[in-house]
Amino acid sequence: MDIEQKQEELIEYFVKQAETHKGASLANVIVEATSHSSLFAFSEILSVPNIVQLQGTEHSVYLDMLRLFAHGTWNDYKSSAGCLPQLIPDQIRKLKQLSVLTMAEMNKVLPYDQLMQELDVSNVRELEDFLINECMYAGIVRGKLDQLRRCFEVQFAAGRDLRPEQLGSMIQTLTNWLATSDNLLLSIQDKIKWADTMSELDKKHQKEVEDRVEEVKKSLS
C-alpha cells in the first residue's frame, strides 16, 4: 500500500481535529500532526479555516511551523529556529525525512556529503542507518546505497506538498512527457510500417526468385 493511501485516513483525522479546535488546543493538534510517524502531508490541514485564522494571533508560530513541515527543510528550520517553537525529537526526525524528499525532488542521485550536511549527520553509518530505518523502511523512498560512489540512488520518493510556484514546472514536465510519448508512439508506428513494407518487398522478391527458378527448370527440361 503506497504512502498516500496509508496517510489518507490520518489527513482526514487531523483535518477534522483542526476544524473542531481553536487557539491553544489547535496548536497541540499541529504539534501532534507534525510528530505523527506516518504523516508526511500537511497541505490539507494548512487549508482549514481555523488554521489560517491563526495568522496574527499569539499562536501564529504554530502556523509557521505547519508551513515549514509542508514545504520546508531541516536547514530552513535551523536558519529560523529563533522564531519557531522548539521541535521535539519526533518532529526533528520527520523534518529530516521531509528534507530527504525535497532533495529527491531535485536529483535521483543524492551525494552522501550533501545528505550529511542537510541532515546534520557526522558519519556514513549514522547517515545510512537513517536512510534505511527512517526513510526506506518507512516507505517514503526506495533506492540503493552506493558506498563506493558515496551516494544514494533514488528509485522512488513520495511526493511532498507542492508550493504554488511548482505547478508550472510540473505541467511543463507532463507536457514534455506527453509530447515524447506521442513521438515515441509515432516512431514505433513508423517502424511497424517500415517493417511491413520491407516484409512485403522481401515476399515479392522471394516470389520473383521462385518464379525465375521455375522458368529455368522449365527451360532446362
Binding site: 534505511i132 546505497l145 522512488f156
Partner: protein
C-alpha cells in the same frame, strides 16, 4: 516373549513416571517388534515406534535444557535414536487409520527435524500440523493453543533456516496466512519476510523464545540463531546497497569484517546471494537478480502503474 514384553512395558511406565525418558525408551526399544514368533499387527508396531521416539525426544529436550546451557552442541544419541524409530514408523504410518497415532507421528517427525536443525523441513511439517481442521481426534482434543504453537514453531524454524529462495517461499506462505498476524512472533516474521535488517534488540527478543537446541553452539562456536540472523541481514543489506565496504558491513551486522566477508563469500558460492568481492578494496558489490534492461522494464511498469493509480484516483474524485 509375551511375558518379557509385559515386564518391559511396566518398567517403561515406571521410568516414564519418574521422567527417566531415556531409560523408558531403552526399555521399550528392547521389545522385538519384528519377532517371527508372535503375531504383531502394524498398528501396535507403529504405536510403539512413535512412543519410543517421543520418549527419546523428551530425553533429548531434557538433556538440551541442561547441556545447552554449557553452550556446547551435543550430537545426542537420543535425537539419533528418536530418528531411527520415527523412520521405522514412516514405513507403517501410510497404512494406519489411527488418526491420533498419525498425528503423534507427524508431531514427532517435525520435532526430530527441528532437533536435527533441518529447519525448513521441520517448518513445513509444523505448518502442516497447524492446519489440522478437526478439533477432536479420537479422545484427544486439539485446542487453538496447540495449533498456534505449531504455527509459531513453523515460523521460528523458517526464520532459523538458511537464507535463500526456498526459505523465502515458506516465509511468503506464512506471512500471507492471516493466523500468523495474531502470533507474538509476527513482528519479526514481518521484518524477515520484508527482508529488513534486524537490529540486536529484536534478535535478542526473538532468542528469548527459542528452545535450548535452537540456541546450541555450532562447531564454529556461533549459534544457529547467529548464523541465521547474519545471513538474513546480509541478504537484506544486499537489497539496500549497490556495494558496501566490509568494515561498514561488519558494523551493520554487528560482527568482525573478516567474518562478514567469509559468510558473504560462502553465500555467493552457494548461489544464495548474487555479488562479487573485491578483496583489494575490501568491498562487496551486490548484483541485482534482474538484468539492467529488465530493471528498466520493471521501472517502466512501476511508472505506468503509478500513472494508472493517479488516473484511478482522479476518476474516483470525479475529476
Amino acid at each position: 516373549e509375551e511375558q518379557v514384553l509385559i515386564i518391559r512395558e511396566k518398567l517403561a511406565e515406571l521410568y516414564e513416571s519418574e521422567q527417566q525418558w531415556s531409560r523408558a525408551a531403552q526399555m521399550l526399544s528392547g521389545i522385538d517388534l519384528d519377532s517371527g514368533i508372535r503375531m504383531i499387527d502394524d498398528t501396535y508396531r507403529l504405536s510403539k515406534c512413535v512412543q519410543i521416539a517421543r520418549l527419546y525426544l523428551e530425553s533429548a529436550k531434557f538433556a538440551a535444557k541442561n547441556d545447552g546451557s554449557a553452550g556446547f552442541i551435543w550430537q545426542d544419541d537420543d535425537a539419533v535414536n528418536a530418528e531411527a524409530f520415527i523412520n521405522k514408523a514412516s514405513f507403517l504410518v501410510s497404512n494406519s487409520q489411527q488418526e491420533v497415532l498419525n498425528l503423534q507421528y507427524k508431531v514427532c517427525y517435525a520435532r526430530i527435524l527441528d532437533l536435527k536443525r533441518k529447519f525448513l523441513e521441520a517448518a513445513l511439517r509444523y505448518y502442516d500440523i497447524s492446519q489440522i481442521e478437526k478439533r477432536q481426534i479420537g479422545d484427544e482434543w486439539i485446542d487453538e493453543e496447540a495449533l498456534q504453537q505449531a504455527l509459531t514453531a513453523a515460523v521460528t524454524c523458517t526464520i532459523l533456516a538458511a537464507a535463500g529462495p526456498q526459505r523465502s517461499r515458506v516465509l511468503a506462505t506464512l506471512y500471507k496466512d492471516e493466523r500468523c498476524s495474531k502470533l507474538k512472533i509476527y513482528p519479526i516474521l514481518q521484518k524477515v519476510y520484508l527482508e529488513r535488517i534486524l537490529r540486536k534488540p529484536e534478535i535478542d527478543a526473538f532468542a528469548e523464545e527459542l528452545k535450548a537446541h535452537q540456541k546450541a553452539l555450532l562447531p564454529d562456536n556461533s549459534t544457529v540463531l547467529d548464523r541465521a540472523m547474519i545471513e538474513h541481514n546480509l541478504l537484506s543489506a544486499s537489497k539496500l546497497y549497490t556495494n558496501i565496504s566490509f568494515e561498514e558491513l561488519g558494523t551493520l551486522l554487528g560482527i568482525a569484517p573478516q567474518k562478514a566477508e567469509k559468510i558473504a563469500s560462502r553465500m555467493i558460492y552457494e548461489d544464495r546471494m548474487r555479488g562479487s568481492i573485491d578483496q583489494v578494496e575490501a568491498v562487496i558489490h551486490f548484483e541485482d537478480d534482474t538484468e539492467e534492461l529488465q530493471q528498466w522494464d520493471q521501472q517502466i511498469v512501476g511508472l505506468c502503474q503509478a500513472l494508472n493509480d493517479v488516473l484511478d484516483s482522479m476518476a474516483k474524485k470525479g475529476l
